[in-house]
Amino acid sequence: MTIISTAGLARTFHTQHGPVEAVRGIDLTVRPGEILGLLGPNGAGKTTTLRMLTTLLRPTGGAATVAGCDLLADPVGVRRACGYVAQSGGTDPQVTAREELVTQGRLYGLTKAQAVERAEELAREMDLVELLDRRTAALSGGQRRRLDIAMALTHRPKVLFLDEPTTGLDPGSRAGLWDLVRRLRDEHGTTVFLTTHYLDEADALADRLVIVDGGTVAAEGTPGALKRTYGGSPDASLQDAFLAITGRGPAPADTAPVAV
């Protein structure tokens, strides 16, 4: 039983300097209710993969299904089934949080009244009630990230894609976001597919990791299995495993989160 499966998913960009194979052929499967972490060095193809799976970017090769909908044949079905939070977020700084949430609801087919009600509901769940009538420019990084996620949850998607959701957040906001992601999975069975550069985040949050490098899958497994297999011992850090897999030299001595 899988909710996402890809076979040879690939994307080549044509630039002035010739073709760039951002993603060379990704094969992966995600089970319903799983929290999957996609790791990889900068330029490994993480964001490109996410943008293909959310219909923002047309693959140049391979195939994928998301929540039973074929990516190429039924993009609208995929859009109805998934929510996406980009690295940059996606709200207009001049607009209030409430207006953005209501517009989002209506884009998913709610009536005005339903959308207003849903905005209130999401605000309660995401701890945004006091902030609804603020312009999004006036929200802190952590608050804005919660709003971005609320927007992506408007239609109760089966799959939630998060692109580096905690980059730039303070430690408290990061911990809050981890709780939120776990809660979504535990209470709603939402499948969460996230990319991150923080290995502690991947270790703490993800059930399973897929490590991409050079546009293909370099390794996959639970954090524990990756540590055993690639780090050399069960006590190895995920960073040891990551560096061994991606061949980026020996691990530095400290264990602080590293943006690779």
Binding site: Y84, A86, Y108
Partner: protein
């Protein structure tokens, strides 16, 4: 969270295209209404021409029927649409960096609606500015038949829809304002000069007149000038209407194609 993971509640009394277009239109119209400055800024240039250039023409032989205002104001109206709509794409470059474009594109909203909602907002704002410009022109001395003035507004709307669509299409394909602005400038300035927006091309030497016939905007200007002197069933009006409608159809098609496929 007391939410059963049920299906999204769908209730759409309108056909999806209309429903989505109206939503996007509302979103961007509210954006325009938040800024009175943005709402009126586009008027500045044509208004300056009206005030400081218009009076220079009143005693000149322009080789056209009617008063000099009946020659100049149609040109200024289309100038308003030319510059206002051509730069519309700037907003999408900003929205791309804010992630707003992708956020809208992952929703099931129709791709055509994502374009049309924006384009119709631009047409609305430009039409509003066009009305103000005509009122100012009447104060300056313009006298023209009402049907002619309304025909002029129709051409402003069609030109605005066309150029805004193309502008958004270009803006989706570039990454920075620095790539966008030079292209727009390189197209709008020659279009303005070669279409006889300020003084009619009938004054031009034969080579310039011939060259100007390659610029689509020329046909719209000639059509509106005829309409402003009360001549509606003329070849100019017919050609102008054909060119304007063809340009709009082509531009919206190009824009939709880009919005459908863009991996911007």
């Amino acid at each position: 969270m007391p939410l059963p993971p049920d299906q999204p509640r769908t209730l759409m009394p309108l056909p999806p295209l209309l429903h989505d277009t109206a939503l996007i239109y509302g979103r961007y119209l509210r954006q325009s209404l938040r800024s009175r400055f943005a709402l009126l800024f586009g008027l500045l240039m044509p208004l300056l021409y009206l005030l400081f250039f218009g009076p220079l023409l009143t005693h000149l032989p322009l080789g056209a029927r009617g008063s000099s205002w009946q020659v100049l104001v149609p040109g200024l109206l289309l100038q308003l649409a030319l510059f206002g709509a051509s730069f519309a794409g700037f907003t999408i470059i900003v929205e791309k960096s804010q992630g707003v474009v992708e956020r809208l594109r992952v929703t099931p909203a129709g791709r055509l609606a994502l374009l049309l909602g924006r384009v119709l907002r631009d047409a609305t704002v430009l039409l509003f500015q066009a009305v103000l410009l005509v009122l100012a022109a009447v104060a300056m001395g313009l006298r023209a038949p009402l049907p002619g003035i309304l025909i002029g507004f129709a051409f402003v709307t069609l030109l605005a829809v066309s150029l805004a669509s193309l502008s958004y299409a270009l803006a989706m394909r570039v990454d920075t304002p620095q790539q966008f602005a030079p292209v727009i400038n390189a197209l709008t300035m020659p279009s303005m000069l070669l279409s006889g927006l300020l003084v009619p091309m009938t004054l031009a030497p034969a080579w310039l007149d011939a060259l100007s016939r390659l610029v689509p905007l020329r046909y719209l200007v000639d059509a509106v000038r005829d309409a402003y002197v009360g001549s509606y069933a003329t070849a100019h009006v017919l050609y102008g209407a054909l060119v304007a409608v063809a340009l709009a159809a082509l531009s919206v098609t190009v824009g939709t194609r880009v919005f459908r496929t863009a991996g911007a």
